[in-house]
Structures are given as C-alpha cells and as structure tokens.
Symmetry: C2
Subunit: 594 residues, 2 copies
C-alpha cells in the first residue's frame, strides 16, 4: 500500500524563501496577522490530516468505488467520516470570507493545502474542491440574499457545491446547451434538462448540494450569449433556512470510469426544478468562468499532487528493491544485487518527476500569491498586473501540470516493473487518477487554444508581455553573475525562443487562425518549460548561496536545477521546430483521407 509524507520543507522553501510570501501577503489588507509561524502551523496540521485521514482511504476508495442505489449515491467506506473530520477541522473555510464564517486566510495557504489533499486522495478532494469553486462564483456574482442563505453552510462544509455545465451534445461547446429556465413566481425559475459528467452531483457527505447550472431562459438568444447561471439546490430551504422539501433534481446514474472511482460522476436530471438566477441574465458563462478558472488551477494541482506521491513511493521502492548490479561495480556487495537506485535510467525517471514537481510547486504557489494580490492589493495597477499573470498562467497550470502528472506517474509506475501494473501496489491507480486531469474542466487542447487564441491577444497582448518582462528583468539582473551561468544561459535561450515564437505565431495567426490551433499544444508546453526554467533558475540562485547547509537541502536543489536545465528543458528545440512546421501539414488533408 502506498504511503505519503507531505513535502512541508519544500513548500516552506517556496513560500518563505523563493517567493518571500510572508512579506508580500502580510502587507495586503486583511492579512496583517499572517506570520511565518502561522503558515508553518497550518501546513503541519494540514499535512497530518492528509497523511493520516485521507491517504489511508485512497486505495480502498478506488477498489470500492461509488455505488448508485435507488437514486442515491454512496461514497466508499470511510469517506463520510473523513469528510466530517475535514469539515469540523475548519478546512473548507480556510480562505473563505469571514463575513460568511470563513477564516479569511490567503488563497495561497489553500493552494498549498490543495497539493497535499491531491497527493493523498484526489477523489476525496474533488468534493470540497468543487464547493470552494462554487463559493467563489457565488461570492462574486450572487445576490446578497442568495449569499446569506447559501454561503455560510457551504463555508462550514455542511452543504456542497457542484458545477453543472456539460450536456450530452454540449461538452467543449457550451453554446449548444439546451437546459431551459422558465421564469416562475417571486423571481424564481423552473429549470429543466439533463446534465452529464457532474462531479459530486449526488453524494452522501453533506446534508444539501448546491448545483450551479447553466441554462437558457425562455426566449434567450442562441449560442453562448443566451446562457444564464442558476443556483439549484438539492433540497429547498425551509422557513429557518434548513434543508426542507426535495427539489426536482435527481441523479439518473453514475459513470464507470478509468479512475477517480471514489468521486461520483453523475447524470443529473432537472425536471422543473426551482432555481435562482446568479448574476445578470444571459451572462451565465462569464459568471461560471469564475468557478471554472478556480477549478482549472485546482485540476492542475492534481497533476502535481499525484506526481509527488508517485515519486515518493517510487523512490522508496528503488531504494529497497534489489535488482542487477551497477554498471560501474557492485554498490551493495554484501547483498545479492544492488538497489534499483544505482541504475542511471531509474534515476532519470525519478529525477524527471522530481524536477517537474519542484518547479511546478514554485509556479503554483507564485500563482496563488498573485491571486491574493489581485484580490487585495490597494493599488489597482498591482491588482491588474497580478490578475494578468494569473489569467495567462491558468491554462499552463491546468494543461502542463496534468500532462506531466500523467507522464510522470507513468514513469514512477515503470520503476516498479510488473509490480507497478498490479493493483495492490497502488501505482497504477495514480496513473488512472492522473489521466482525467488532462480531460475535464476543458481538455488540454482547449487550454492550449485559450492560451494562443485568447490570452496572447487580449488587452493588446499585455498578458504575455507581463511575463516576458519578468523573464527579461531577471536575466538582466543575473547577467554578470558567473556562477549563475549554467542556469541563466539555458533560461535565456528558452526565453528568446519563446518570445520569438510568440511574435511569429501571433502574426501567422492573424493571417490564418488555423495556425494558432496547429501550434497550440506544442506552444503551451514550450511556454510552460520556459516558465519552469525561470523558477528553477531563481531556486538555484537562492540555493547556491546556502549550498553548505548541513541538511543538504540546498545542494540537492541545485543538483535538480542542473538536471532540469540539462535534461528536460532541451525538449523546447523539438517543440519549436514542430510549431514552425505550420498548419498546412495538418489541414491539407481532406476529411475523407483520415
């Protein structure tokens, strides 16, 4: 059975040392009481919860899966109790608004907790994760009355949230949505239609479920301009605000999936269900995007979380499993064979995982800090700058983190040989669970299109320029630092390549929009690798000043930075050449030729 130990030291390094987040966040209004000790205490408490409560029911949850009986979903054994402990511990309210019972801590802390939850139990994490997203959408777009009725219960974790977008004919293309909303008495609506792939659409963890549903009000224009957002509770509130009468919402069935089997994925039927408009009529998609952006980041973190736990277990196996001798002579001559860890190709798989993880962790926490700045900074220009960076980086986190999560859980499974393929070792579950993150909340292809067709162009191309300014500034600052050359040289090369390709691509895309689509996936990966190089260079810069620390932490960090630059970053060359090959190679086929 796999084990997990939260990487607290590395989270602390990123938060306190790399990003100096104590200072940045501590000066934001509302966060004055933050302190390094508080951050560390929360990380340690969160780690304990994940290690001792969520991780132990991960494998059993996969084996048992969710059940659907008499129209009700049951989660696997132990989930209900774990959820109760999680909610009672105040975890759902960590970063929520004190007005609704939240603890008002920075999003950044919630983000770091998210990684640990995903390492422990992705299926479990989806239930509160969607609630967090729904809280954020309601906080921004719902009426005060809806907020006061729903948010306190959601913040305390007694009620959950869902996101009801997909219909059988409308996945990526939400313009095709058919669910209807008819105006009814007292400003309410009657919602009718069928939604599919609804995570947590039904479950037995909370006393009520708050569905956020996209639907068309009678007479609305076709396409995405005629979609509105509704709050549709499983149980209507009684006079005291407690769950009363059942609403006309029911779960029709659950999906049998490749992974995340302990997370219910439901077909939800709305049959004249009572619903309440959230945000303006016909602006539902924009309101839902508040939730979707939050979920997209959370999904990316699933990749990081799974890759981290897979790494830990693969390292442990590679240390203990004795198989073959080192090519340079026996390393454990008193044993029948050497541990796997002596073999370079085993190390390649482990270090690939590790280098992505530590780089991704830095990007994730940096993004979270920017979310907090965007929410709270007194200076509008600072808020705008931070918001731009978050908007730019969101598709990179969602797509690249989930891609590398799948690739590296696969590598870690490979370290186990045949044992990786059988159920009992738990490694194949990580791979199956990781796979979904590339698909849901907008496939990774859609993320890449969001990057190249939208994020590169909006606000006169300001978003990528913000990031390139960071790159250029850092490279310039380090250019006379000889000891940093092994990191700054490859970063400079990557940055030049990325910036050059960005200009080239935008120009080509203006002439032929298919050029953007043809380049999108490879361009996103090249961008993400460059962003990783930027953070790895900074981490190396800090580590190089503390290399002789007796724990060895900084020396290892430097070694991993070198590995990233030498072994992983070079992918950019192939990607660049692929991007430059243009759309003709893809589009010069007749449909019949496939």
């Amino acid at each position: 059975m796999p084990s997990y130990k939260a990487p607290i030291r590395d989270l602390q390094f990123v938060f306190h040392e790399l990003l100096n987040a104590d200072d940045t966040l501590g000066t934001l209004p509302g966060y004055e009481e933050m302190s390094p000790d508080l951050v560390d205490a929360i990380l340690e408490e969160g780690a304990k919860l994940c290690e001792t409560l969520l991780q132990p029911i991960n494998q059993s949850g996969d084996l048992e899966g969710c059940r659907f009986t008499d129209g009700q979903v049951s989660t696997p054994q132990g989930f209900k109790e774990a959820y109760q402990t999680y909610a009672e511990g105040g975890w759902p309210s960590l970063a929520a608004d004190p007005e609704f019972g939240g603890q008002g801590l920075p999003e950044t802390l919630s983000f770091m907790m998210e990684e640990m939850i995903n390492s422990s139990n992705v299926s479990f994490g989806l239930y509160p994760g969607l609630t967090r997203g729904a809280i954020s959408a309601l906080s921004q777009h719902a009426s005060d009355e809806l907020k006061s009725r729903y948010l306190p219960k959601m913040v305390e974790g007694t009620w959950a949230g869902t996101m009801c977008l997909t219909e059988s004919q409308a996945g990526t293309d939400l313009g095709l949505i058919r669910t209807r909303a008819e105006p009814a008495s007292e400003g309410t609506y009657r919602i009718s239609g069928t939604k599919i792939f609804i995570t947590g659409g039904d479950q037995d963890l909370t006393e009520n479920i708050v569905h956020l549903v996209l639907a068309r009000i009678t007479g609305a224009p076709p396409g995405v301009r005629g979609i509105s957002l509704f709050l549709v509770p499983k149980f209507l509130s009684d006079a005291q605000g407690a769950p009363g009468e059942s609403n006309a919402v029911s779960c029709g069935s659950i999906e049998h999936k490749m992974g995340i089997k302990a997370s219910s994925t439901c077909v939800m039927n709305f049959d004249q269900a009572e619903g309440y408009l959230v945000g303006p009529e016909n602006k539902g998609l924009a309101c839902m995007f508040t939730m979707m952006n939050s979920e997209r980041l959370a999904i990316g973190i699933q990749g990081l979380g799974l890759a981290e736990v897979a790494y830990q277990n693969a390292v442990e196996y590679a240390r203990e499993r004795l198989q073959s001798r080192s090519a340079t002579g026996a390393k454990a001559p008193d044993q029948p064979a050497d541990p796997l860890l002596v073999h370079p190709d085993i190390r390649r798989m482990l270090l690939t995982t590790r280098a992505y993880n530590e780089g991704a962790r830095a990007i994730a926490v940096w993004t979270a800090v920017n979310i907090d700045i965007a929410h709270r900074h007194p200076d509008p220009a600072a808020r705008e700058a931070a918001d731009d960076l978050v908007a730019l980086i969101t598709p990179l986190i969602k797509a690249f983190f989930s891609d590398y999560g799948y690739e590296t859980t696969t590598l870690c499974q490979q370290v186990f040989g045949g044992h990786g393929y059988v159920r009992e070792w738990g490694m194949e579950q990580f791979v199956r669970d990781a796979r979904i993150a590339q698909i849901y909340e907008g496939t990774n292809g859609v993320q890449a299109l969001d990057l190249v067709r939208r994020k590169l162009f909006i606000h006169e191309g300001r978003l990528p320029e913000r990031f390139f300014d960071l790159l250029d500034g850092y490279i310039k600052q380090q250019q006379d630092n000889d000891s940093m050359r092994p990191f700054i040289d490859p970063l400079t090369q990557a940055s030049n390549l990325l910036q050059g390709l960005t200009g080239w691509l935008k120009k080509r895309g203006e002439e032929n929009p298919d050029e953007l689509g043809a380049a999108a996936t490879d361009y996103l990966r090249l961008f993400a690798l460059t962003a990783l190089a930027y953070f790895w260079a900074q981490m190396a810069g800090i580590a190089s000043t503390k290399e002789n620390d007796e724990t060895g932490y900084y020396g290892t960090k430097l070694a991993t930075a070198r590995f990233f630059m030498g072994r992983l970053l070079p992918q950019i060359h192939g990607l660049a050449e692929g991007i430059r090959s243009g759309s003709g190679l893809l589009m010069d086929y007749e449909e019949s030729e496939f």
Copy 2:
C-alpha cells in the same frame, strides 16, 4: 462499443510495394509456392477472424476478467469458443514447420496477422502468442523426442505454451532465480519453486499447458551461468502421448491488473514437478532468449495494434461528434457545430497516431522479412546480415512501439473528451491494455540497455553499421532526386545526428559505463525515430510516383510522410541534447538525496 477494420490495404502496400516481399520471400527455399494472391487471401481471412470473432469479445473480456476458483482459471465468456475456432482455422500453425503439422508459411505472414490480433484483442492474443514463442524455443533447442511429443499438439493449438522466468525476487535480474531442479530417474528432473507473473500459467482454453521453466540444477554455479531450461507440462503424457496424470504444478492465484484483464497472470507453484531439460545444462538463459526475442517483437506489435484500433475509433468519433466551429469559418453550416475533425489540434492527435502506425507497420514487416531471410537464405552472409538487423531492431520495436502505443492510445482517448474516460466507449481500455507492453518481457529501460550496452558493441559494432549502411546507401541513391528533398533532407539530418551520437556514446561508454545507461532511453527513441524516417522516406518515394492514383491512397501516404518529417521527427533535437548532457546530472546525487 469500439469497432475495428483490419488495415489490409496498408499491409499490402508494405508487403507488395514497399518491401517487394513477394520476390524476396518467394526465392527462399521452402517458400516457392508463395504468391501475391495467397498472401492477400490469408490477410483477408485473418482480418475476418479478427473483426468478427476476436474484437467483439474484447470489451466484455475486460469487464469480466479472468476468474480463479478452486485452483483453476476461467477465461471470460466467449474466449473458449473463439480459441477453438482460431485453432480449427489453422492459425496457430501458419508459420510452423510442416514436420510438426505446420503450414510452413513465412513468419512475415504470421507477423502481419499478429498486428490484426492485437488490434482486436490483446488479451486473447497472448495465449497463442506465447505458444508460438514456446514452439520456436523448443524447435531450436529441445531433443527430437521432446519435439515429437510436444510440438504437434502445440502447433495444432490443442496445447499451449508459457514462459516461466520471473520470481518474486528475480524480475529483470534473472541471475537471482531460486527455482531448483533435482536430477531424477530416466533423465527427468524434479522442479520446485514459485514463479510469478506467468501469462496463461493456467487457463481453460487448451487440454494441456507446456511450461518452459528456468531453474537451477543441484550444484549449478550461481548467477546466470547456472540456469537451465526445462519443459514442465501441466499434465504428464500417458503411453499414447495424451494428457494423463496431473504434474505437481499448480496455479496459486491470479493478479488483479490495470489492464489485459482477460489474460490470466498467474502465480505458479512447482512442487517436485516432473520436468525435462531443454538444451544444454546451465545454458538455459540462452535457450530462453529464443523465446524472449520472439515475444519482444510480439509485444512491440501490441503497441502498433492498439494504436491502430484506437486511431480508427478516434477518427470515427471526430467525424461524427459536432463541437465548436472551425476557426476559419463554419464547415458544416447546416449543423449546430462542425465535426471535431475540422480542428487542427484534433488532427494533430490523429495524425501523430497514424504517422507512427504506418511507419511502425513498415518496420515490423521489414523485420519479419529479415527473420525469414535469417532462417532460410542459402547464403550464410545474407543470413548473418539479416540476423544482425533483427537483433538490432528487436529492442527498438519492443520499447519504441510500446511507448508510442501508450502515448497515442492516450491521444486517441483524448479526442473523445470526457467520453474517453468512461468505460462504455472502450477507449480507456486501449490505454490500460497498452500500458503493460512497456513493462513486460523486459521493461523498456532494459530494452534501451540491451541496445546501448550490447547491440552497439557485439561483433565489433557490426550491428549498427549494418543499419547505417542502409541509411547511407538510400540517402546516396536519392541525393540527386529533387522531388525527394523534403524527405531526404530531414532523413539525412537525423541519420547524421544518430551516427554522430552513436560514436560519441560508445566512446564515452567505454570510459564510464554509466554514460550508456544515462543515455539509453533517449538514444533508443532517437534511433527509432530515425528508423521511422528511413521508412517514411521510402514510402514517400513510392507514393510520389503514384500520386494521381484515383483511390487517393498514395496522396494521403505522401501527406502523412510530410507530417512525420515536419512534426514528429524534430523530437530528435531535444533528445540529442538530453543525451549529450551526460551521466553526471543523474549520478552526482547521493542515494539519500532522493
């Protein structure tokens, strides 16, 4: 439910046009009666069997899996009947020696059939696949008496074969094997020990099972030099040679795996079981390698087979699923959205799969032709040359085909969005089934080591030189052909890179063997991509002379050749830089730093 149509036209192109195999094989002794019509008839019959018999029980087989009750394995519903039809149709005997009841047809035909079987039902294919490997090991190494007692039944498919190597402490490292063989009466041995991960170790398809078991004869030297090969039947033969008394071999349990669930993976207990020596004492590993090399090629073909069926289903979905509009304007204005196939990123995923598949198919059939030459050519020099190429290419086929098989079944699953992740569409099964091919029969890391540590060096480095001579010869022959420039230029670049790196790597490896291990996986991929480029260039050369053919087949072939050169081959640049980064990045870590 997925569907499958065997790619007969493409197999015919490779066999008849690209490789001109009718002439090559037709002049080999024993194959004089081969004709293009015979080849086509066998392909068509084989296709029918796969499409109508094996494919329809693939998804149900995954769902049901194998069962283990009272010490007996049952295969899923329909497998027994399908196996009977398969055996009665003479498919197990296709390429087997007429002396033992075989049809004596070229291995090449068996190889092409293998692709179709793996597209239809990998789990099913493993049962007769291992029998084929066992037949080949027994044919080469067993005594005449063993051959006459076992081969006829195996060739007719009434008895099956297995390969019993792995023990819990001995996976990659077969030197650690503990299973014992004590000499007993009349030249027999008593075999005792436990083997794990035995594919088809027990099943209900055949009346007997012939286990090929690696074990140590009492007093044998330690390590791989003390291992012998034994034939251990499930049932001992009675006086008439029919299965009589049970041997002391039993199945202890079966594994619960990520995929290939309809293939039984058994723990096998040998408890003083009667066994017969195959080949010389203490030379068991060499004898077993006859079977392992055959299996390694077969495993590679699993990657191709699964990628082909995944491609077909993804194309069909992309044609029918309407979602979003083309970026260049509606292509199906009378429909609510355009088919997925209009989107460049969908095409990228499909064409990646297709370009690998068609290139891999060419390599596979070319390798099979070389196997036939190596077996039958009257000129020893021609046999040696062919055998060298097969030995060189075996790890490439096993590792690269299974790697790209996993990557591209994943891409094809991605085309389905959320539907790809749920069981009913069948796409996630292809991914789970594909995953094992990277692991068993020697992990892909072990294949890469076989390439760089063994195949590059044996016979004074003759093996890679044989292949480089082919590359150089073809490039030279085409160098004045301007119309071939788009194919020859990238091929030349790849060939120069590969040949340069090969020399560099061998030199570095002689100084420090860890350099070989550090480079192995990336080097293997770079080699495989260059081999694909060589075959794609040749296919483009043929297609360009027939481009105006009214079926459109050759025009599409040319387009796919261009896609391969422009979009997939560029990976070599990143791989080359990664290889050159050397072993220090991996080995300069203390074990405690992981």
